[in-house]
Amino acid sequence: MSTSITPESRDNAQRDSGSRRSPKADQAHGADAKPNKTQVRLGDRVFLGLSRGAGITLLVIMAGIAVFLVVKALDALGDNNGNFLTDSTWVTDGSKPAFGVAGLVGGTVISAGIAMLIAVPVAVGVALFITHYAPRRVAQTLGYIVDLLAAVPSVVFGLWGLVFLSPKLLGLHTWLSDYLGWIPIFDKDETGTTARTLFTCGIILAIMVLPIIAAVTREVFLQVPRAHEEAALALGATRWEMIRTAVLPFGKPGIISASMLGLGRALGETIAVAMVLSSSQEFTYKILDPGGNTIAANIANQFAESNDLGRGALIASGLVLFVLTLLVNGAARVVINRHKEFSGANA
């Protein structure tokens, strides 16, 4: 069959190319194409210019954030009498202003760390539930419900955490310090009547970052090759053994990067912490005592009452936060992108 057709089609092709080469067609084509071509290129060039310009604007904004923060931070750091990186004081008026972010960085890292310890296991559980346990028909809806948690504004989290949650957690604070008080971080100096502590903030941050971690992890679990899962089940694995041997190893980079995205969020969360935490400038590792502060919450609380130098100092601390989140997010993205290629080759 094919051999009988080939000469014919080759014939056709020749005829086609012959007709295209005919001077008349060439002329018509050329005459048509020339103005058309410039027209097309003008519109296209404008459009390409616009869209590329938008992309470049975005890069300029990112660069602008870094540049402006650095410039204003350097202004303020010139007037600093303390050590910006190792001090925990925050005095920005008077004759000898001295400020440092050590305590703030400590509080930020501790509260975000508590959030991670709580949120990551729960989020992985939620992602597993939605991808592998929930009935297919309702799984998507349940996913939306968890996503709704991400839609709750942080100021509402703050209000809820302050008025509703923190009084409820007072008992847990006492219990932890009574029974686990020999561990330094659970040691409690004050027999306080308030639970507006770093621990409570960590729990609220955990609730806030849970949906993002769960969403990203869910996507990764959905990418697990079906064949791996079915092979495990066919070999007699229970559902949990299938998840342990096929899903979790595949999803591990995804879980790591999702956690880092969540960590970035937790580090930068402002209003909820500012409202809930009963803050102090000194660094404290005792998470059950009121006190400590985070970079972002400190900015929100101090900004209105600060003088120009104080605002510059806050910008400098914001720069530290920016660099911190940039590192965490950048690392997460690198892991995700590597994983993307990996799964693409596998699919």
């Binding site: 904004i61 939620v126 539930f129 419900i145 509402v156 989290f157 559902r239 998840i243 930068g268 965490v328």
Partner: protein, 356 residues
Amino acid sequence: MSIVKTDTAAPPAEPKPLQLTRRSMPTWIPWAVAVAAVGVGLLTKAVQGNWALGGFFAGLFYVVVVSLASWQIEDRRRASDRLATSIVYSAFVVAVVPLVSILWYTVQQGWEKLSPEFLSHSMNGVGPRDDKGGIYHAIIGTLEQVGLAGLIAVPLGLLTAIYLVEYGRGRLARTITFFVDVMTGVPSIVAGLFVYAFWILALGFEASGFAGSLALAILMLPTVVRSAEEMLKLVPNELREASLALGVPKWRTVLKVVLPTAIGGIITGVMLSIARVIGETAPLLLLVGLSQSINTDPFSGWQSSIPLFVFDQNHSGSRFAPDRAWAAALTLIIIVMLLNLVARLIARWKAPKAGR
């Protein structure tokens, strides 16, 4: 008994019948344990007077007893399977409890105060002893600030997405993609500080609603780009090729063929990004000032916004302030949930038919 004994004794070589399935737990056991667990929970509640503790012990009781029973009746592997199943289910419950708690508590606290009067009055002239005032000025501020942010971020984000999907191949596109991702992680307070340093300190403008819009636009931008990018990628290449083959220039192909095909998803993405920034407080705290009266001009003078209103009332000493804060929080939640709901509906309604 004796008969059986003689029977087995007579043909000594006959093996025990081969059992192909293992013993499995009767289905009523987990249910019985669940009922018992509810009992344990109620008991804990009665003794300790704490619902959370009761729920915790009920869950713990169920997980432990079912796993132990399964270990005894079945085997270790299936016991760990049941353990994992219970833990995964409870993880989901643990995630949903705060959501329900926040929604329920906010509705409960804010419902009474939320009235047409509350929505149509500002805080102008409301003293600390007055049980009056409302969020009209804050609603105006929020609408204007978010609207302006959308006017900046949506065209910019859409064009960027078009560049990335339709044109971008080289290094520039890769750089932009990477920084869009990184931008997603910029904390809102840092965006606020940047606009403060750039717009107010360097360019010398006053604090105003528009300064807040700039920060909100920065926060919206990556979400808009990412969602639009995903949607444009879903448009089948055949459509583009068909249009280009008819001699339509590329830019018209994008505007008339690609964008209309993806418009549902793009609108969804834009609405979700609006829902995200409408509750932002931190940058506005630095940029918008705080007004108690109506200011309809976002370009001059201080404004308010709903999240700022919540934050401000929470700090206020008036004994009527908490009610106002909760009512405003409820308004905010209703707006955000409606935006989310409508966005999902549009997404479902306009979804490109995958796979055809």
